[in-house]
Amino acid sequence: MLFYFRIGLRNLLKNYRRSIKTIMTVVIGISACLLFQGFMSHTLWGLQESLINGGIGHIQIYRKGYLEHSIEEPYQYLITDLETLVERLEKVPAVKLIAPRLNFQGVVSSGGKDAVVVGTAGLSEEEQSLNSMAILKEGSFIKDENPFGVVIGSGITQKLNVGVGDILTLMVAMKGGGVNAIDLEITGIIEGQIKSYNDTALFANLNTVRELIDISDSVDRVILLLDRTENLEKVGPYLSGLSNEMGLEYCDWRQLVGTQYTQPKLFYDLAYVLIMTIIVLVVIGSITNTLNLTMQERVREIGTIRSLGTTRLQVGGIFIAESSLIGFSGGLIGIAVGFGLAALLNAIGGVPIPPPPGHARGYTAFFKPDFLEGLRLMFLFLITAALSGFYPAYRAARLEIVDALRWI
């Protein structure tokens, strides 16, 4: 086996200019794949963190039955033993923040115009931490000592033509039926990455909203923020036990974000596969072309070695060894170039990306290529290169000896 590679290596070195050009095709291909994977990885990670830190948190805990019945009976499945729950949750490792919250829907109006809002009633410090990805464009966040302050999304301010200091009337449905309303002062304007968020977000004081809806000391969920997203599996067993004891249920961010995460992920995954397929085809074409040229130049040599007793299989093996060496060397260099380019792009501050569809802001793309993915790509391109050698190897092996010996 080593003998195939020895001859293959010598032949590559003999035509080193041509070999370098072919190896560069593999280098460019693999480093492009790695850069795209790094971009994709960082972008999805950014999306994940922005969703988690855009108000969803890592885990949301509800009264058992809430997830199934909350749409038709929003205030019948509330967490009432909040104090006990918070005490128990404080002992769970990796939990950084515990935020009791009451979600509600309502309508805000000002000056004859109105807008539907998706309201969040919570504790000011906790809500501000949970929404760290959103930017406070103007004013300040809600404060517990100002129960009539409200923070709204930038889309609402544009629709109602209001600003910090203006008064809004918030109207909601009450628990027992009927409608209630309250005047609130805009203390701040918030902007997240997603447009629909900016068009409907409203943050208000927990106790104020509880009184408005006519529920006392209850919340519909408790949100947990962990110190790291990777610790999600760690807290699972604790929450499972707690939920069984206290009649609760919970779900994590992956179940909560739904298509907001899975659709972009699917898009990127498909794009990655498409890009990789195109690159693989280009690499196959390049290597096959090089080896066909090499084979044409070595017809007489092939006739000679066949006359010395080299079998057709061995002749094929020599060419496949050559193509494998191209794949291997190109793969090694390509991985190094890919990681190097990613580090360089990150060092110069990343690449600015304009706002994607449905987003209000652009972002800076960084590159986070995965080492395991690099190894997988290297293996893929090694196989691709080896397979590229099959056709030239087949042609070489099928040559008739006397015709090859007569070749000029």
Partner: protein
Amino acid sequence: MISVRNVSKTYRMDKVEIDALKNINLDIEQGDFISLMGPSGAGKSTLLHIIGCLDNPTEGSVEIHGQKIQKMKDSKLSIFRNRHIGFIFQSFNLMPVLSVYENVEYPLMIRGEKVNRDKVLQTIEAVGLKDYLKHRPDELSGGQRQRVAIARALVTDPDIILADEPTANLDSKTGAKIISLLLDLNSRHNVTFLFSTHNEMVSKYAKRVINILDGELIGMDEVFLPVL
């Protein structure tokens, strides 16, 4: 040792059929040193290719040590060639990316067995090139390259070495040295040689001269040991 019986070879070139060999009958014994003489296009190379299992006759048969080579599959034929037949080509046909040592070692390496390094070195020494082991073919003269080719043919201890115009690309002095080397190997090691040439001067060194014209054997001359 080698029996050629009623061998004919016909090539088809578009709609024209060309009879390259017509009903050749020939016996070659161990230790023979035979020159195949004839002008260009006489069929010398075709006969060498058929005896060397590089091509199949249209009719007839070739037996080497009692084995009918036409019945062998391609892979078995490759192994048979490697073990029983050596080749020397007019243009040397060395592998340009391998050194002298590696070119001579090559026929042993493709067997998949451990190569006897001493055997390779002895063979290279026998052709007078022990100081050129690491040289590549492009660093050697024509005569030296042909010596490497001879060593490569010899290293497997073949039953017969077939040489197709071995001195055609060499000057007369070098050519004479090569033939002298072949004769030396023939007399000291009893290696059987069959070589083709259209050069009468070269043929004078052969023990037997077989004349071929238009695909037919037209005569065999026995000659005594030549004077070099």
